[in-house]
Amino acid sequence: MIQELFKRLHLRDRQLARVVNIGTPYLWLGLFFLAPFAIVLHISLAETALAQPPYTSLWEWVDEGVLQVRLNLHNFVTVFTDELYLAAFLNSLWVALVCTILCLLIGYPMAYAIATAPERRRVILLMLIILPFWTSFLIRVYAWIGILKPNGLLNNLLLSLGLIDQPLTILHTQTAIYIGVVYSYLPFMILPLFANLTRLDFSLLEAAADLGCRPFKAFLKVTLPLSLPGIVAGSMLVFIPVVGEFVIPDLLGGPDSLMIGKMLWTEFFSNKDWPLAAALAICLLGVLVVPFVMMQRLEHRIGGDEL
C-alpha cells in the first residue's frame, strides 16, 4: 500500500513538473509579450485626447447595461495611406538588410577564424568580441560622433595623411547609420556563427580535399551549407532589432534618413499621438513576424534534410 502511495505521489510530482516546465515559458510569453501587446493594441484603437494619459477610453457605460465600444481604425488607415510611413518602413528594412549583409560579410570570416584558432587563443579572441559590451551601448555610439564628425578623428587623420583635402561629410548621413549599426551589431552575428562553426566536423573538409576538391569549392559545398543555421540565427539577431533601431539613427543619422524608430518617436513625443504611435508599433511587429516565420520554416527544412 505504501508503495502504491509513493507511486501516486511520484506520478503527481511528474505531472506537476510537466505543468511547470511547459507553463513557465507560456507564463513568460503571456506576461512579457501578450500583455504588453494587448495594451499597445488597445491604445492603437483609441483616439487622442488632451488628457493624462493622452487617449480616449475604448468603452463607456452609456445607459444601464449598455456598453458602448468605439474602435478607431483611422490610425491604421493613416499608417497605410500616408507615404511617409511607407517610406520609413522601406528605408528601415533597407538599412537592416544592408547592415545584415555587411555584418555577415565581416562577421563570417571572423567567426571562422575564431572557431579554427587554437584553444587558448580562441578564449582571448572571444573575449575581444564580448569586451565592448562592458561599456554602455550609448557611450559607444556617442564615441562614433567624435570619430566621424567633420572636425573628428577620422577626418583629421585622412587630412594629415593628405588623402583628402576637404573633410568628408559622414556624420548625419545614412552611411554613418550603416557604420554605427554594423559596429554595434557585429557581435550578434559572430557569436551564433562561432557557436555553429565550432561544432563543424573538419574531417569532412579533409575528406573533400582527399577526393580532390579545392579549398574554396569545399567551403562552398561543405562549410557554408553546414553553417546555414548559424547564418540564419545571426542574420535574424541583427535584422530584427535593426529594423526598429532608434538610438543609432537618432545620434548618427541625418534628418533625411527616415526610419520607423524615429517616426515612432515623433508621433509619441512631438505629436503626442499615442494611438498612431501604437498603430505604427503594431505594424512594425507585423513586418518583423514575417522574417521570423521564414526562419522557422527554413530551420524545419534544414532539420528535415539532416534526418
Binding site: 493624462q52 539577431l237 512631438s270
Partner: protein, 369 residues
C-alpha cells in the same frame, strides 16, 4: 539566441529599477527636479540641500516634447518641472497636469516683474500653476570668424536670411548650419523672415513658410535642440538656430577653451521668439511641500541671480537684476534693448490639429519629401 538581446535590454532597466528603489527607501527627504540641460548654476542644488536638508535629484531634458510626453504618461515622479510657458505650459494646464502652487509659501512672488508675471494670465488665470523661472529669445549663434570668411566682413548676420536665403546659406553650408528640431520655432522663424505674422496658421502662410524651409533644407547640416552648444563652441558649426543662453554658454565655453573660436549671439532683425520658462508642480508630484520649498528658494534674488550669471538667461526677478554680473546684465543677448524687444513676439498655442499639421510638414521638410 534571442536571449542576448533580451538581456541587453533588460539589464539597464533592471539596474535603473534597483537605483530608483534605493533612492526611495532612503529616509532623507528628496525633491525630484526635471529641468533643461545646463539650466542651474553649479552650486544651486548643493546650496539648497545645505539650507533645507532636502536632497535634490536632477534629471535633464533638451526638448519640451520629452518633458511633455513624461507628464502626459503620468506618475512621472517629478516634483518640479520647467516647461516653456507657451505653447507647452498652456497646453499642460488644459490637460490638467498640474496642481496649484502654494502661494502662501512663496513670498518671493512679490518680487517678480509684473510685466512678465501678469502676462501669463491669459494661459494661467490668477497665476495659479506657473511661476516664471527664466526668459530668453530664440535667435542665431554665429562663429564670427568663419562667417566673415565665408560671407565677407560687411555681411549682416542679424538676419534670418543667413539661414533662409539659399544664396547666403549656400556659402555657409560647408562650415555648417544647424536648426532647432522644433516645428513651432522653425515655422515662426520662417514666417518672420517672410514678414508675415509668426503665429499665422493659415494654409497659405504655412505653405509659404514650408517652401522657405524646404529651400533652406539642403543647406542645413542637422536638426537638434542641444547638440549645437558644443559644436558651436568647438568650431564645428558656423550658424546655429538656438536659444539665447545656450548660445551664450557656447560663447563662454569657446573662450575658456582658448582655441580661437569666437561665438556671437544675434537676434534677427525680422523678429524672434521671446519665451518664458516656468516652474510648475505636477498633480501627482510625490513631494509637493518640497516642490514649493524649492520654488521659494529659486525666487530668492541672490539664488536666481547666480543662476542667470551662470546660464546667461534673463530672470524676471526685479530685485535680482542689480545683483547680476555687470557683464551679464549689460549683455544685449541676455537683456535685449527696448528697440530690439519691440521686434520680439510670443508664440500662441496651436490647437492639436494645427500642431499635428505643423509637425507633419516639419517631418517632411526634414526628410526632404
Amino acid at each position: 539566441m534571442l536571449k542576448f538581446t533580451a538581456l541587453r535590454l533588460a539589464l539597464p532597466a533592471l539596474m535603473a529599477g534597483l537605483l530608483s528603489a534605493n533612492t526611495t527607501v532612503s529616509a532623507e527627504e528628496t525633491v525630484h527636479l526635471y529641468n533643461w540641460n545646463d539650466y542651474f548654476a553649479e552650486d544651486t542644488l548643493a546650496k539648497f540641500q545645505e539650507r533645507t536638508g532636502i536632497r535634490p535629484v536632477l534629471d535633464l531634458y533638451d526638448a519640451n516634447d520629452v518633458l511633455e510626453a513624461k507628464l502626459f504618461a503620468g506618475s512621472s515622479g517629478y516634483d518640479v518641472v520647467f516647461p516653456t510657458a507657451r505653447p507647452f505650459g498652456a497646453r499642460q494646464i488644459q490637460a490638467g497636469i498640474y496642481q496649484p502652487v502654494d502661494k502662501s509659501k512663496l513670498p518671493g512672488l512679490a518680487k517678480l516683474d509684473p510685466a512678465v508675471y501678469a502676462t501669463l494670465q491669459d494661459i494661467d488665470p490668477d497665476n495659479k500653476y506657473l511661476v516664471p523661472y527664466l526668459w530668453g529669445t530664440t535667435g542665431l549663434g554665429v562663429n564670427v570668424a568663419k562667417v566673415k570668411e565665408a560671407m565677407g566682413a560687411d555681411a549682416a548676420t542679424d538676419t534670418w536670411a543667413i539661414v533662409f536665403d539659399p544664396k547666403q546659406a549656400a556659402k555657409l553650408k560647408e562650415c555648417g548650419i544647424s536648426m532647432l528640431d522644433d516645428a513651432t520655432e522653425a515655422f515662426s522663424a520662417a514666417l518672420a523672415y517672410l514678414g508675415k505674422d509668426p503665429n499665422s496658421r493659415s494654409d497659405k502662410d504655412l505653405e509659404a513658410a514650408a517652401q522657405v524651409l524646404k529651400d533652406a533644407r539642403p543647406n542645413i547640416r542637422y536638426f537638434h535642440s542641444s547638440q549645437y552648444i558644443s559644436d558651436l563652441a568647438n568650431g564645428d558649426l558656423c550658424v546655429a538656430h538656438g536659444y539665447s543662453g545656450d548660445i551664450l554658454q557656447a560663447k563662454s565655453r569657446a573662450e575658456e577653451a582658448k582655441k580661437g573660436v569666437e561665438v556671437g549671439y544675434r537676434i534677427p532683425r525680422e523678429g524672434a521668439v521671446l519665451w518664458t520658462d516656468v516652474m510648475a508642480i505636477p498633480k501627482d508630484a510625490p513631494n509637493p511641500a518640497a516642490a514649493n520649498a524649492f520654488i521659494a528658494y529659486v525666487l530668492e534674488p541672490p539664488v536666481v541671480a547666480d543662476i542667470s550669471d551662470y546660464v546667461m538667461y534673463a530672470n524676471p526677478n526685479l530685485e535680482a537684476t542689480p545683483l547680476l554680473d555687470e557683464a551679464v546684465r549689460t549683455d544685449p543677448g541676455v537683456y535685449p534693448s527696448e528697440d530690439v524687444k519691440k521686434k520680439l513676439f510670443v508664440l500662441k498655442t496651436p490647437s492639436d490639429k494645427e500642431q499635428r499639421k505643423l509637425n507633419n510638414l516639419w517631418t517632411r521638410i526634414k526628410a526632404e519629401r
